[in-house]
């Protein structure tokens, strides 16, 4: 297939090896990129995708290997060198200054900028680029006023403004609606049609099939395969990526519904900027069901989870758990009423990085008589408890006394889940529980959630991953701009319709909420 290409690759990375203390992140990795193509770089977390791309854009120096750009050997020492070679990257967390305008962000860091940049010219050029590639953004808008999708456009514009012709995108779709994803595909198509080339990092198979011309798969820091997208299938890619067959469709089961555990009525709350984030949300979750909340990030999901768990005060409406009103209660009260919470910010909120695994597992149970007597902690009890959870939830750690920050992402999440499930008495609020996890860890997290449901817990699952919601929830509620625009049973949910609802289209009469 692609072996006999006539063109010289615009970029060739050969034998790239990069060690980190104790980790071989890239082991003689090869990669080729041709003009006019979109290459997907597929792999699980820790497969070495980001390392490889950071080598390419000058953030890391490789220990071994060569990089050739347009037939010439190059030595990329910094992101600036990379820009000069026409290589630029859109990072997963955008590198934008929120309080500056689009135009200001674009010229920020540009070399040879005059003391007073001529913003008129910058804006004209931005508009020109915008219409050429379908990337319309108001150059005078402030970054904080833009949606995440628009911010991503600004990042891409930044690269195009610098005449970058090898674009690298790190998990570009993680924060987009299905419609925005379509727009992004369109933009990339137009960009590569002009002779540029793009690499995008992902661990989602759907995106590979949708976006790319070719796909290079990494596993454990090594090349596994490179395929033409048209000649492969999601099943084959999954096998290549994880090295084993993946359980794609968990068997859909249901569980007998118990009494209503969570009742939310007309809940209103403000976001951190003091603007309305929840505009009258009503929702119920019964024992033995998983209710999924679908929606693009920033439509009130975070605030909803925080109101239920006592981390944010509501300005109107009610939250009841097992019949007890817990509106505006303290987090401790919510915990005592049986609410468990797998938080969105795993590392920032869910764990204390410098503390040991055992201490982190005890973050909630330390108040129980098993782990403390009166004011005094009971170290033996803590160790026993930790060991029990490490074994029971299969957490890979050198031991209970390892600092938790040394665990991998999947094991961090398992530790949080272990702690929260142990403490759970009635309601579990799980926010993006599988975000950023590899396929294996994702699977076990989903199974844990299902198990918990089968034991009669009410689960509120907030996720951006529609596949996940369709797979494990019993009902799906779609949130848009602080409202629930519709609730549908998951079994006959249609992903396109949910996609439209995520973009704000209301559920019409035919499928009214149950």
């Amino acid at each position: 297939m692609t072996g006999e290409r006539l063109a010289v690759p615009v970029l060739r990375m050969a034998g790239i090896t990069k060690h980190f203390p104790g980790v071989l992140a890239n082991d003689h990795v090869d990669l080729e990129l041709y003009e006019g193509e979109v290459l997907a770089l597929l792999g699980e977390n820790g497969a070495g995708k980001s390392t490889l791309m950071n080598v390419l854009c000058g953030l890391y120096r490789p220990d071994e290997g060569t990089i050739t750009v347009r037939g010439e050997r190059v030595d990329i020492q910094s992101p600036r060198d990379a820009y000069e070679l026409g290589i630029g990257m859109v990072h997963q967390n955008f590198m934008l200054v929120e309080t500056m305008t689009v135009a200001e962000n674009v010229v920020l860091g540009l070399e040879g900028l005059s003391f007073q940049p001529e913003f008129r010219r910058v804006k004209r050029r931005l508009q020109e680029l915008g219409s050429r590639y379908g990337l319309q953004v108001d150059p005078d808008a402030y970054i904080w006023q833009l949606s995440v999708g628009e911010q991503q456009r600004v990042e891409i514009l930044k690269l195009l403004y610098r005449d970058v012709d090898i674009l690298i995108l790190d998990e570009p779709t993680a924060v987009l609606t299905p419609q925005e994803v379509d727009d992004l595909v369109e933009v990339l198509r137009r960009v590569v049609k002009e002779g540029k080339a793009a690499i995008f990092i992902t661990h989602k198979l759907r995106e590979v099939m949708m976006f790319s011309d070719r796909v290079t798969v990494l596993r454990g820091g090594r090349n596994v395969a490179t395929r033409s997208t048209s000649e492969t299938s999601p099943e084959e890619l999954a096998r290549l990526m994880v090295g084993r067959e993946v359980l794609f469709q968990l068997e859909r089961t249901t569980c007998e519904l118990g009494p209503t555990v969570l009742e939310i009525e007309g809940l209103k709350a403000l976001n951190n900027k003091g603007l309305p984030a929840l505009r009258g949300v009503s929702l119920t979750v019964r024992a033995g069901e998983i209710v999924g909340i679908a929606g693009v990030a920033g439509n009130g999901q975070r605030e909803l989870a925080e109101c239920i768990t006592g981390l944010r005060d509501a300005v109107g409406g009610d939250v009841r758990v097992k019949g007890t009103c817990i509106t505006n209660c303290s987090p401790l009260r919510a915990i005592r009423e049986g609410v468990s919470h797998v938080p969105e910010d795993r590392v920032e909120m869910g764990l204390v990085g410098d503390m040991t695994v055992a201490e982190n597992l005890a973050l909630k149970a330390y108040r129980t008589s098993e782990l403390s007597r009166g004011p005094v902690l009971f170290p033996d009890g803590m160790n026993r408890f930790a060991q029990q959870l490490i074994d029971g939830f299969d957490i890979a750690t050198p031991g209970p006394h390892t600092q938790v920050k040394f665990l991998s992402g999947g094991n961090l999440q398992k530790a949080i889940l272990a702690r929260e499930l142990m403490a759970c008495e009635g309601l579990l609020v799980a926010v993006h529980p599988t975000r950023g996890l590899d396929v294996g860890a994702t699977e076990s997290v989903r199974e844990l959630l299902l198990e918990q449901r089968d034991q009669g817990t009410a689960v509120l699952l907030i996720s951006e991953d529609l596949d996940e919601l369709l797979e494990i929830s019993d009902r799906i509620a779609v949130m848009f701009e602080g409202e629930i625009v519709g609730v549908v049973p998951a079994e006959d949910a249609d992903r396109d319709r949910i996609g439209l609802m995520m973009a704000g289209q209301r559920l019409d009469e035919e499928g009214a909420a149950p």
């Binding site: 290997g65 395969a225 987090p331 401790l332 919470h341 503390m355 005094v376 902690l377 170290p379």
Partner: protein, 370 residues
Amino acid sequence: MRIVFEKRKHVSRAVRVMVPVLSLVFALVFGAVLLLMSGVDPFVAYAAMMDGAFGDIHSVSETMVKAIPLMLTGLGVAIAFRMVFWNIGAEGQLAMGGLVATGVSLYASDLLPSWSVLPAAIVLGMVAGAVWAAIPALLRAYLQVNETITTLMMNYIAILLVSHMYHGPWRDPGGYGFPGTAKFPEMAWLPRIYGRAHAGLFFAVIAAAILWFVLQRTKWGFELRITGQNPKAARYIGINIPRLIVTAMLLSGALCGLAGVCEVTGVMRRLQQGLTVGYGYTAIIVAWMSQLNPWGVLLVAFLLAGLLVGGDQIQMAMGLPAAMGLVLQGALLFPMLGGSLFAEYRLRIVRPEPQTAGSPPQPIAKESES
């Protein structure tokens, strides 16, 4: 070639030990240069310093006199810092402790049974320090007022109040006009161990032991460590952070207050100039250098006190200008503090890699999977 300053991935035990040792060596060399520049043989000077600080039991006891308040305030500050509460107010809390202990010793000794005067002075002095610390703590916990400013400002109030008391209302009528109160009655004297070194040392050791236990083995200490390391997580698991701030500061202030009590009842046995000589500020250095570890505080406080006493000693013994002692103390402290940075970070020299790595690029195999 470039020099990169990067965070160490893992701080080994060897590094933890070697960094302070090398910092000390560097500090001594740096100080030696300064001494040479003022025409003094550094070996003689250092020997005099060592001798002055640790040379015989008398000098050790003098070092201990300075170490005790540093230990107590250092422990107090370390508790607050554990929770990332910047208590710059140890000096003021110490002053209030000393002030109230003085009041009890001078004016309650007739009202109380004599055995209870000293305990009353100690307890009420600690309460005074705690109350003084509670004011900024409450402001921070419930009104989000920046504690760095408030604790610092509270120092000025306390220091000036103390000064006013021994210059004015409490001045010893029989003191020939010198500023200072009358000597305390003997029942209010804190027993001495040797020379002027007093029983405050036991308080410091007991306090360190209690603190260690509280931090490692109690729910309250667990909550304190969680809150200090990740306040977001603390809120998430339901810790009442405002209450924790206030209780931690009460403890912090009480320890600083105790330092003041010991100064007036153990060392001076009256209230006069010399109560607030900056122990509360040096305590910040002590707390940091000991990495907020209670036992570390005791050790660092003792060594630092040795540096203070030794520095004073060479002024006298070698006829150096008074400023030289201070210069030398600073010159020794600076590399010690700077050095602790290298325990967490390291410098790495990056050379451009040789351009000979590997053969010319080979056609890339499309499959490496079987």
